[in-house]
């Protein structure tokens, strides 16, 4: 039995209804289903991939390749919150590198590392379409994605403090 289909019957019907009823249309549900699954525990489990493959009528390998291709999907358990600081050119011209470095220094970790309580990972990412409000970052978690713009190290640390207490 497909555990995913059982658990999210309504949501999955809504997703499938967006696309043509044939096999090609079913395959289109693979990305929305992955977003749905990730909302639960922050990553896509092997079991969930198997269920998605079944619903979309494609192979497990094909599902796994989608997880691997797109950067917002995770296939392993990760920290609860990902602070993803944009360091692309426009943000870098407005001090994003310095911001990221000072933020990490304050937390005592390096870029890509997680706070000792395992809750917050600091990452450097590509353009997030917030170039005029740099330094900026998004917080990615099972709760969704949230933008934080016009940041200072102080405001970011305050937010991180709150996230770690959640």
């Amino acid at each position: 039995m497909n555990a995913l289909l059982e658990k999210y019957a309504n949501e999955i019907q809504v997703i499938l209804a967006k696309y043509p009823a044939d096999q090609a249309g079913k395959r289109s549900a693979v990305m929305p289903l992955m977003h749905l699954v990730q909302r639960e525990n922050g990553y896509v489990t092997k079991d969930a991939m198997q269920d998605i493959a079944e619903i979309c009528e494609i192979t497990l390998t094909e599902v796994a390749s989608i997880v691997g291709f797109y950067t917002l999907y995770y296939d392993k358990e990760t920290s609860k919150y990902h602070i993803q600081v944009c360091t692309d050119l426009p943000c870098a011209l407005r001090g994003a590198d310095q911001f990221l470095e000072n933020l990490c220094k304050n937390l005592g970790i390096k870029v890509g590392e997680t706070t000792p309580d395992g809750k917050v990972t600091i990452e450097s990412v590509m353009c997030l379409a917030g170039c005029d409000k740099a330094p900026m970052f998004q917080v990615q978690s099972a709760e969704g994605l949230e933008y934080h713009e016009n940041q200072t190290v102080e405001s970011a640390l305050e937010l991180i403090q709150q996230l770690r207490q959640r």
């Binding site: 967006k18 043509p20 090609a24 249309g25 395959r27 289109s28 549900a29 693979v30 990305m31 929305p32 992955m34 977003h35 979309c56 494609i58 390749s65 989608i66 291709f69 797109y70 950067t71 917002l72 999907y73 692309d88 050119l89 426009p90 870098a92 011209l93 407005r94 590509m126 353009c127 997030l128 379409a129 917030g130 170039c131 005029d132 409000k133 740099a134 998004q138 969704g144 994605l145 949230e146 933008y147």
Partner: protein, 419 residues
């Protein structure tokens, strides 16, 4: 500009609410086309307006619509809301604040090309916008503006959002279509182009968010009115996303043909104190670097004039670079972006961006000899004209023009390391 045409929320607070939008003439254009215009006449009016694609290519929108294959059904419309070019943040402002004008534009386009289903492909980071749009689409359905029997006619139309998941390449239209089909976001070999063979192999029109947002007002006020804005060959308003070394970055809606000087110094309030302007990238990280001399500053920002100073207008994401920036550092940053975002399908882009990254890493760290700058130039030239899509082709623009137009920046970094 006297009145906003695209960023109308700046004039009309609350236009993101369906009632307010209707009070200001919202959905009248949709009513007009669905109840009284032949689809081909809608396309002809957009053609007559001279509207050109705002996503970067500047292709005439009405002409694109007229290419839809009438022998193969069903037809689809896809709005490209994958906005991911470094320096571009205009579609986000439209969708967050003036969403109904955009959605009305999608609906009119669908009517014109006889599509009953349209998808809005948003980058995964626009998660919150997708949720807002879903709610607004539901409101439109409840108001009889979407769904079956629009305005009592036999026209039916459904809009759906589709979220990406962090891949710049999906802004390329054929990769975007692959992504909706649940495949890796990798570009297709073209031709055939989407108006002939698009989503699920069916005729499809892919347009940028800003492009579609122009459409309702073209229908309401007519092609002649639209042509009174901008220049003869580049009519209409454009949202310029201004970023980088400038006092007041942000989105500025101005007529096409406004000069760089007016954008950067009047609207953007110039360069931070103590510095002078050095270079301009008019089309985000995909752009060539223009030397910011007097001639360049006085150049009108339209599709014809920008090439005369050695770049393209593209999506009009103007990144300003001042004299504190070394161009060798800058191209290292843009190359890292393209290396990360290369989809890996074609060899020149996959391998080329990889080697450009290693070379620019060494050069910007001051570890390279001047020969390696020549090698970098050579590698970039070998990528040119050989890639499956524009991502690879654009990855070399800043590299080539950086080396050619700012040679002393490279010499300085080399001399510093060898002295």
């Amino acid at each position: 500009m006297a009145e906003y045409i695209l960023l109308r929320h700046r004039d009309i607070p609350g236009i993101d609410q369906i009632e307010t939008y209707r009070q200001h003439g919202g959905f009248e254009a949709l009513r007009k086309v669905v109840t009284g215009m032949d689809p081909d006449d809608v396309t002809n009016q957009v053609k007559a307006s001279g509207l050109r694609g705002r996503g970067g290519a500047g292709f005439p929108t009405g002409l694109k619509w007229s290419f839809i294959d009438g022998q193969n059904w069903p037809h689809y419309v896809v709005a490209n809301a994958d906005e991911s070019e470094p320096g571009t943040f205009k579609d986000r402002e439209i969708m967050e604040n003036n969403p109904f004008q955009f959605l009305e534009g999608v609906a009119i386009c669908a009517y014109a090309v006889k599509a009953n289903v349209a998808y809005i492909y948003l980058r995964g980071e626009f998660w919150h916008i997708a949720h807002q749009l879903d709610q607004r689409i539901a409101e439109m359905e409840a108001a009889g503006l979407l769904g079956d029997k629009l305005f009592g006619t036999n026209t039916s139309l459904r809009l759906h959002t589709h979220l990406g998941a962090g891949a710049y390449i999906c802004g390329e239209e054929s990769a975007l279509l692959e992504s909706i089909e649940g495949k890796l976001g990798q570009p297709r070999l073209r031709p055939p182009f989407p108006p002939a063979v698009g989503l699920y192999g069916k005729p499809t029109i892919v347009n940028n968010v800003e492009t579609l947002t122009n459409v309702p007002l073209i229908i309401t006020h007519g092609a002649e009115w639209y042509r009174s804005i901008g220049t003869e060959k580049s009519p209409g308003p454009k949202i310029f996303s201004l970023s980088g070394c400038v006092n007041r970055p942000g989105n500025y809606e101005l007529p096409l043909g406004t000069t760089f000087r007016e954008l950067i110094f009047d609207h953007g309030r110039g360069i931070p104190e103590g510095h002078t302007i050095k270079a301009i990238m008019p089309a985000g990280a995909s752009s060539s670097l223009i030397v910011a001399n007097e001639e360049a500053l006085d150049t009108p920002m339209d599709y014809e004039s920008v090439p005369k100073v050695g770049a393209q207008l593209g999506s009009a994401s103007v990144i300003v670079v001042d004299d504190s920036v070394n161009i060798a550092w800058l191209i290292n940053r843009t190359v890292h972006f393209f290396k990360h975002e290369s989809c890996g399908k074609c060899t020149p882009c996959r391998e080329g961006t990889y080697w450009m990254m290693h070379l620019t890493d060494r050069i910007s760290r001051g570890e390279a000899t001047i020969n390696e700058v020549a090698l970098l130039h050579n590698v970039a030239n070998q990528i040119k004209g050989k890639c499956l899509c524009a991502l690879g082709e654009f990855s070399i623009e800043a590299v080539l023009t950086g080396i050619e137009r700012f040679p002393t920046d490279f010499e300085n970094i080399i001399t510093k390391s060898t002295s």
